[in-house]
C-alpha cells in the first residue's frame, strides 16, 4: 500500500508545479482542491481501518475538497478576476526556484535520522517541498487569492508530515487543527471580498497606504 502512497505523493509534487506555473486562478483553485483530496485519501492507504480514521478522512475531503474551493471560487467570481497578472517574480523563475527547493528538500530530508520503516518513502521530502512551494507562492504573487492558495499549499505540506504521526496526535487535536485551517481560510475569503469592494481589485500590492515614509 505504501508504494501507492508514494505515487500519490509524486502527484502532490506535480500539482505544486502546476500551481507555480499557471496564471489562471480558477485552474489553480481546482489544482489545490485536487491536492487536498489526494491528501484526504492518503491516510486510508497507510493506516489500518478505524472509525477515527473515517472521521478525519471525511472531514479533510469535505473541507479541502469542497468547502474551501467553493469559498475561493465565490471570491474570484465576485471580484471578477480571472488571472494573476504580473506576479512579483515571473512564472519561469518561480518554476525553477520550485525545482531547486524540491531538490534541496530531498537533500535536507536525507540528512535527518528517519525511522527504518519510513526510510525509503518520500513523506518527509514531499512535505518540505510542498511547504517551500507554498512559501514561494505566498511571497511572489500579488493577488490575495493566490496568497491564500499559497497558505493552503503550505498547510498541505505540514499535513503530509502529520501523516507520520498518527499515534502522537490525538484526534481532538487533529480535528482542532483542521477546523482552525477551515475557519482561517473562511475568514481570508471574507477579507478578500472586502478588499475587492474597497479597492475594486484583489491586488495586494495596492495595499501600500500603511508604510513608513
Amino acid at each position: 500500500m505504501i508504494t501507492i502512497a508514494d505515487q500519490f505523493l509524486v502527484l502532490v509534487l506535480l500539482i505544486n508545479f502546476v500551481v507555480l506555473g499557471t496564471s489562471r486562478l480558477i485552474f489553480s483553485i481546482r489544482a489545490v482542491a485536487v491536492q487536498g483530496v489526494i491528501l484526504g485519501i492518503l491516510p486510508a492507504l497507510i493506516h489500518p481501518f478505524s472509525w477515527h480514521l473515517v472521521g478525519i478522512i471525511s472531514m479533510i475531503l469535505i473541507t479541502k475538497g469542497v468547502v474551501i474551493p467553493l469559498l475561493l471560487n465565490r471570491a474570484v467570481r465576485s471580484a471578477e478576476i480571472k488571472r494573476e497578472v504580473e506576479p512579483f517574480l515571473g512564472y519561469v523563475p518561480t518554476l525553477l526556484l520550485g525545482a531547486v527547493f524540491t531538490a534541496l528538500s530531498f537533500g535536507f530530508a536525507g540528512k535527518l535520522p528517519m525511522l527504518a520503516e519510513h526510510q525509503n518513502y518520500m513523506f518527509v521530502p514531499a512535505s518540505i517541498a510542498t511547504l517551500m512551494t507554498g512559501f514561494l507562492i505566498l511571497t511572489t504573487r500579488r493577488k490575495a487569492i493566490s496568497q491564500v492558495l499559497g497558505y493552503l499549499i503550505l498547510e498541505n505540506g505540514i499535513f503530509i508530515f502529520g501523516l507520520l504521526l498518527a499515534e502522537a496526535m490525538p484526534i481532538m487535536v487533529e480535528a482542532g487543527a483542521l477546523l482552525d485551517l477551515l475557519v482561517g481560510t473562511f475568514v481570508m475569503g471574507i477579507v478578500i471580498n472586502h478588499i475587492s469592494r474597497e479597492f475594486s481589485s484583489l491586488d495586494t500590492s495596492r495595499l501600500t497606504s500603511l508604510k513608513e515614509e
Binding site: 505540514i158 482542532g176 475568514v187 497606504s209
Partner: protein
Amino acid sequence: MLAALIILPLLGAVVTWLIPSDRLRPIVLSVFAFGHLGITLRLLIATPPPSAGGWFNLDALGKIVLLSTSVLFFFCAIYSIGYLAYRLERSNRVLCMGLLICLSAASMVTITHHLGLLWVALETTTISMTPLIYFNRNARSIEATWKYLLICSVGVALALIGIYFLAYSTIVARVEPSLLLDDLIRDADKLSSGWVHAAFVFLLVGFGSKMGLAPLHTWKPDAYGESPGLVGAMLAGGLVNLAFLSLLRVYQLCLATREILFFQNALVVMGLISMLFAAIFMARQADFKRMLAYSSVEHVGIMAVALGLGGKAIFGALFHILANGLTKGVLFLSSGNIHRSYNSKSTDHVRGVLRRLPWSGGIFLAGFIAITGSPPFAPFISEFTVVSSAFIQGRAVVGALFLVSLGIIFIGMALTVLPMVMGEAPADSETTSYRDTIWTVAPPLALLVLVFVLGVWIPDPLMTLLRDASALLEVRQ
C-alpha cells in the same frame, strides 16, 4: 473550575450574539469578564491538581499569564461600556463576541500542557481577533487585517511543523509518542537531536512572528495602528503574552535537552534586533498609535533578551509579562480616548491634549513615563533586573546595547509624546462630541494605579508565584 475558565467566556460569546442592543452588549461583556476574573483569582488561590493524563495543568508560568490577561481583559471590558457608546454608528456584536472567544482560547493556552492543543488555542486567538482589527471598515484597516491574518497564520503554521518535528523525534527515539510537555521533558535525553534542533528553529520563528519579534514584526504597526484602542490593548497586552508563554514552553523543553545554549543565543540576538528596530522606527513617528506598536516590538525584544540571558534576568522576563501587559493597557486605552476626541492619530493635528482632555492626557503621559522604564513604575523593576543581570553575567555588550536602545527609544518617544500632550490644540484640529467620562477614564487610571503599585511593592503571594515560575526556567546542571 478549569473547565469553567474556558466555558464561561464561550457562553458569554453566545449571549452577546443573541442580544440585539448595542448598548446592552458591552455591559454583558463586562459581567462575563468579571466572572472570568473571579474564577481566575480563585484558581490562583486554590489550584486544582493536574488533570488525569497531564493535558491540563495550571502551573506558575500559566498563572502569571492568565492573571495578567484576565485583569487586562476586565478593565478593557469596563472601558468598552463608555467607548462603544461613542461608536454606535456600527454594530459591536462581532467585536464583543470576538473578544470573548479570544478570552476563552487565551485561557486554554495558559492551562494546557499539550503542545498540539496549545497550538490550536493559539491559532484560535489569532483568527478571533481578525474581524476586530477591521472594526473601522476602511481601506487602511482592511490592509492591516490582511497583513495580520496572513503573517500570523503563516507564522503559527510554521510553529505547527515545529511541533510535528518534536512529535517525530519521539517516534524516532522509540519512546512513547506524545506531545505532552511533561512526557517530552522526561524523555528529553533520548529524543533524536537532529529533529529536535530543527523543531526549535521552526518554533522560534513561528511563535516569534506571532509575538512580533523583529524581523517578523511587519504586521504589528499596521494592526495596532488601525484597530480600535480597546483591541490594540488586548493585542499588545494579551496576545503578545500568550505567544511568549508558548516560547516559555519551548524554553522549558530546551532546558532538558542540549539545545539550550543555541536557543538562548538566538533569543538574545532577536531581542536586541527588535529593540534596535523599534529605536529606529520610533524616531519621528507622526502616528501615535503606530508609535505604541513599535513600543510593543521593543518590549517583546526586552522579554526575549531577558529569557535568553537566563539566571536572574528570568525574573525580569516574567515580571515584565505583567508590567508590560498592564502598561500597554494604560497606553492604548488612553490613546483611544485621544483618538476619539481629535478624530486623528497624527501628531500634526493632535496637540495640547492636557488642555483638552486633562485626564486622558495625564494618564497617557504617565503611561509613557512608565513604559520607558522610569521609576517608580513596574516596568522599571523588570528592565533594571535584566540590565543588572546582563552585567553581572559579564555580558557587557548585551547590557550596553540594551541600555543604548532604551535611551534612544526614550528620546524618540518623548519627541512624539511631549509635543502631543503639551501646548495648544491647533486651530484647524477637529472637535468631536467626545468628553472624558468616568467610564472611559477609570479603567486606564485603575491600570495605571496597578502599574504604580507593582512598581513600589510586590505582594507576597505574587512574589512567591514569580519565584516558583522562575524555578521552572532555571538551568539544571
